[in-house]
Amino acid sequence: MQVTLTWLDYLILLTYTGFVVGIGFALKKYMRSSSDFLTSGRSLPTWVTGLAFISANLGALELVGMAASGAKYGIIQANFYWVGAIPAMVFLAVFMMPFYYGSKARSVPEYLKMRFDERVRTLNSISFAVMTVFASGISMNALAKLLHLLLGWDYNWSLWICSFVVGVYVLKGGLTSAIYTEVLQFFMIVLGFAPVVYLGLKDVGGYHAMTEMLKGVATNPAALHLRDTATTYRADAWTSAWKPLLAGPAYNPMGVDWFAMVFGLGFVLSFGYWCTNFLVIQRAMAARNMTAARNTPLVASVPKMLFPALVILPGMIAVALMTMPNKGYRIPAPILDNAVYAKAMTVVAADANAPADQAFKDVSAAVGKKMDAVKVAALVKDFAAAPLAPDVFQDRLWNAVAEYDYDGTILSLVKRYCPPGLLGLALTGLLASFMSGMAGNVTAFNTVWTYDLYQAYFAPNKSDSHYMRMGQMMTIVGILLSIACAYFASMYNNAMDIIQLVFAFVNAPLFATFLLGMFWKRTTGTGAFLGLIFGTATSGVVHALTISQGNAPGMKGGYLGVVHVFPSEMAQNFWLAIFAFLVCFGLTAGISLATGRTKTDDDLRGLVYSLTPKIRDEGTPWYQRPAVIGTALIAVCVVINFILR
């Protein structure tokens, strides 16, 4: 299962590490004030902030998870990019960036303070700070586990060394260093994974041949153990982005309807993430002027639109490969413990003369997973003829498992196609995606802590060098906290699921607050604060009262009684977000009308749409105007969707 790296692979890895650390040291001399360190002194060109914008979001989990979803759901997953990200990024650029950048706020929570009051800012900054630390911890845990499984590297060493490298360059060069390395990492990820996708596509005989194979899979997914025997879909379920969606939840592998997809994912969740998350917006805020800041998400949306080819396509290739028996490929099964192998071996030996279905039942029970009947029968027969060597036995038993560890998809392709050299490059791409995600979290965390919590509550009116030292200290603290969270995640998987669930609750209503705050001057701090709290509570309650098909009440919802059953978890998530958004929107508006305004029109100048002078783009050539670029991008996105409908 493991691969061995050669000296060349290590050399490529070291070259990359040397350069990212080198960038940190080269930038050290420019770090003179806290604003240089925490906000890059608002000095970067658009293409740099744009690529960093996309790279900070492209963590290792995204790379691994999107390939997994590509295998599970097919091209429909690309709607997370086309319906989800692109419209939200264009909206951010054209309508919201003027307030974030123009208000001179140093963070998103600080904007909330200017617009509303200290309560809203604190609520947002605390939830954001906790969230970033956990997000980075979860991703670190996943990466260290992956490196352990794939390369046999020690979990602890992987964790600490990767964190150390990120720590060094962020500590030396601050946000600029994080952003610069994110640009480098962006190219590393793209150039590291593109050849793997190319080889995979060539192996299955091209895109058209792949879609033909996936049509066969869609009409009988049980043949590959992708779904239960009873489940079949239309032939285009894996290969069309829209038709299965419009046909209804029963006809697409994701089990969602188009309304939940467009409104729940496309509007509520995506706008909530891309338009309010400081992790990405911080990159745009570091741009050197208003036009550069507004164009940042637009520059980012070009690669974002094409990313499905890099991250989702590999999952589809993997499924197509499985339909070709001569390729001898499968998406890896979940890892089994040595104890399981030992137990299964005794069962296989004992059942040598038992009837086939009895042996199949016993082996399945011993492994504790769904098994492939044919492969188990062959294994029992061969074992009875002559006992197999332990490693051969383990390999065959593992291959007979009829369940998939979808997260292993992308790395199984890397292993399959990469000779030494390219292997080093692809692994460096993986490490780069991990580091860019972590550095993004850490730089957002240290800024929010320093400006929105420390300066606001603990030590106002200190010298700038004081805050700079605090920012640097928080970089280290943030990294140590992430490491602690990584260990926590490795020990308590379930606790992590709960935490992620709570974050989903917190995020769902956020966009309603920003939408009302930015476009309706009557919105008050009390309205925003209570709207957010009750919006979050709503998602919690809806989750407690609903469940998705095939799940038992508990972690997946329904623990207070089941009022409604959704066709899939994805649909449940989307509808949860829709409810939270509507409640937050309604309550914020209602309470705002019932409470008196605390901010005058003068206070809100530059913070609210109707009270801010329109930005005049006459000075910039038409092709640099955000509205023009944004419209063009949406048009291109529509065309792509139409072609792949």
Partner: protein, 74 residues
Amino acid sequence: MGLDIRWPIGLMFSLVGLLMTIFGLVTNGDAEMYHRSLDININLIWGIVLLIFGGFMLWLASRRRGEPGSPEKK
């Protein structure tokens, strides 16, 4: 910021591209090694692609060196 990020990006990819190209040339014809990459000497091909990309970045950076505008405050 005084550092133009295109320098390190260009240098790094040129270096990695050079490593892969040389390795690809040395191992050219190693059927066993390149069997997994569908009998394509992917190291040589991709090494050259990286070299071109790295060179392009360096060219962009050097072209801008004299000008004051590039990554600075406006």
